[in-house]
């Protein structure tokens, strides 16, 4: 074959074939993978950039809101929203409310605190403590009951949500009732039962664990 074609022609053919192979290999075994790899790196870099940009936007948004939120945060902090629901403090508020509202009796039962699931609190490594507060009130006038509720909601540490309420006028105010007001056991014309949920937000390490059924 070399005798017919000649060394030069064979060399040219071989050289061209070799060059073709080299260019093919360069294209598909080097440049293509490199381009794909670079595309992946580019996508990753852009993704990273977008994530950082979102974080920056979030931080800037937070800063923009902090002015208003800081006042409210200080207020709820002052209201005891971050306290671990000390029963002693609650007892003082209950006594004060009973004395100042004018209700005749107020029987209060506070259940042990339990952990309440809350995603927002989880984000800040905190947990919500909740306790049921049930109150039975006897009063001469419904206004006293309202005042009692007002005093509780404004002075109780944390947040006291109304879960239920019953207000019942057991007797009409009559001359006989008014005469018996001074007796040792006077008749009670208004009865009320109040159900509240008492909530505060405490650090994660202070709250009972999620699977702990017992309270404080």
């Amino acid at each position: 074959m070399i005798q017919v074609l000649g060394m030069q022609r064979v060399a040219i053919l071989a050289g061209l074939l070799g060059l073709n192979l080299v260019v093919f290999a360069l294209t598909y075994f080097f440049m293509d993978p490199q381009a794909s790899k670079m595309q992946r790196q580019l996508n990753a870099a852009r993704g990273q950039g977008n994530s950082i940009q979102q974080e920056i936007d979030r931080l800037q948004y937070e800063f923009a809101q902090i002015g208003d939120q800081q006042v409210m945060f200080e207020q709820i902090k002052e209201d005891g929203f971050f306290t671990p629901q000390g029963r002693r403090q609650a007892e003082q508020v209950l006594r004060m409310a009973q004395n100042e509202s004018g209700v005749f009796t107020a029987k209060v039962a506070i259940r042990p605190a339990e952990r309440e699931n809350n995603e927002q609190a989880d984000k800040a490594d905190h947990a919500i403590l909740q306790s049921s507060v049930n109150i039975r009130i006897e009063a001469y006038d419904d206004v006293d009951v309202f005042r009692y509720i007002y005093l509780l909601r404004n002075n109780f540490p944390g947040y006291l949500s109304v879960d239920g309420l019953t207000l019942l006028r057991t007797q009409d105010l009559s001359v006989d009732i008014l005469r018996n007001v001074t007796l040792e056991k006077p008749p009670v014309p208004v009865g009320a039962t109040l159900s509240f949920i008492w909530r505060t937000m405490v650090p994660e390490n202070v709250a009972p664990s999620a699977n702990n059924e017992g309270g404080f």
Binding site: L16, N20, F24, L42, M72
Partner: protein
Amino acid sequence: MGIPFLSPARTVLLITDEALQIHSSGFAGTKLVDVLPWDAENFVDTAADIIAKDCGRKPVVIVHDMVEQYYRKERVPNVGIMDKKNVMARKLMVTFPNYPVRGSLELKEKVTKTEGSLSARIYIFSAVAESEQLSKTMSAVRKSLASIVCFSMLPVEASDMVSALSQKAIGKQIQPAEWTVFMGQHKSGGLRQIVVKNGELALTRLTPMVDSDMDPDHWAQDMHSEFRSTLSYLLRFGYSPSDPLDVIAISNPPAAEILQNSFDENVRVKTLTSHQAAQHLGLKIEKQVDGRYADPLHAAWIGQKRKFVLPMQADALAKVAKPRQMAAVGVLFLLVALSYQSVDLFDKYQVYAERAADYKLAEQRNAQLDAQYQREIERKEALGFDIKLLQASIAVYNNLQDNDVKVLNLFNELGRALPADLNVDDIKITRPEPVRRDEFLNYQEEPEKSPLYVMSVNMSFPNTANVDEGNETVQNIRARLLKSLPGHEIEITKLLRDYEFEDELVLETGDRANVQQQAFTAAFEIRGFAPEPEEESAP
């Protein structure tokens, strides 16, 4: 002929009886490179060297111009296209069984079908005998490594030149004749006469003659004598002395006039130098060539041809030509493939480079964003408190407020809505369980919105009250509450005593009837809802 700068570059090997003429043809024209006698020392090596070096190993056209050429006019019956090649090859083999180089040319002439014979086509079969000159030429070409374009016979390939020359040199003034005789002396001294009828080769002769025109009379006489011999042959080929006939003779001007005057036959004679003939044909030949020699003209004409009239076939030729042609095709293919791949590689490199540049920009941007992020973090840390706790606690607190019962506000609005003389017997606030969405999975419509709380109010009216007026009072209370408690549903669940068809009525009337008056009662429900959650607009 063609456009000079598009003329193919070739080496034309003219095989004559005395020597091998090597012509180089290209866009600059055709020039005689060398004339190698057959008995020259190291003939093959020298010829190969000239083809490879002096002619630049250009593709070779081998032209046979020896005396020993064989032509036969043959009838070949019409056969199908599929069989034609095999039939022709077999016919050629049968016609020239001992000659290795053979070829066939179909003529315009045809034989129509008659009762006794089939329709057929007329061919000129040609062949070249095996000779030392031929084998030496093939060896030289093989050794030179130049590719072979074609092996052809000079008279056949020159037939179209004669027609073209007839059209251009004679046909300008008058209509060219049916018969044309071309007469040209070769360097070897032989006179080549080519007779063309209607553009097709009819007869060719190569005869010796005086190799000098120093004596123009003698030279012209020789020429005319050979012409007369040719005419006698032509009579056998259907020529009649009364038929118009053109003669084109290549000669130097001094002999040309004598030659023209020597023709006493009924013919038109045109004498041209080889340069003039080349000019008519659009060819370039060397100026130094003696104007009476026709072989440079033939070499120039055949060297510029793109399509040959009768390419000859031979095994020895094919063994050399085909691999080299394949190699040329292979080189071309590989060059095209290389070009394509190079463009592809360049495109991919550009894509890579663009991505690399974008990546660099993205990295720079990320570095800037990182720095900005660090500044924001430092700014946050400088505040001195936990922003996450701040935001989470406020979110929790707001949620508690949204889902709480504003009980004192409710009592306040209720007190404003009630008339002063009305007694409220009891108030009850309950928080119904929210409707679970999964209970409505089988329903297309959205579940009814569950109230956050329900406040039930029972009232009593004095037993002396007018029922209609009392009911109106209850309706008015509802209207006032709807106005003062937007977003609430207020429903009267019980009106003062009224009779509807579903009530049972027992009535005692008359003066002695036992009439007992009892108080009227009414009730309604207030349903409050949690505010719609706002869609987050912040990141």
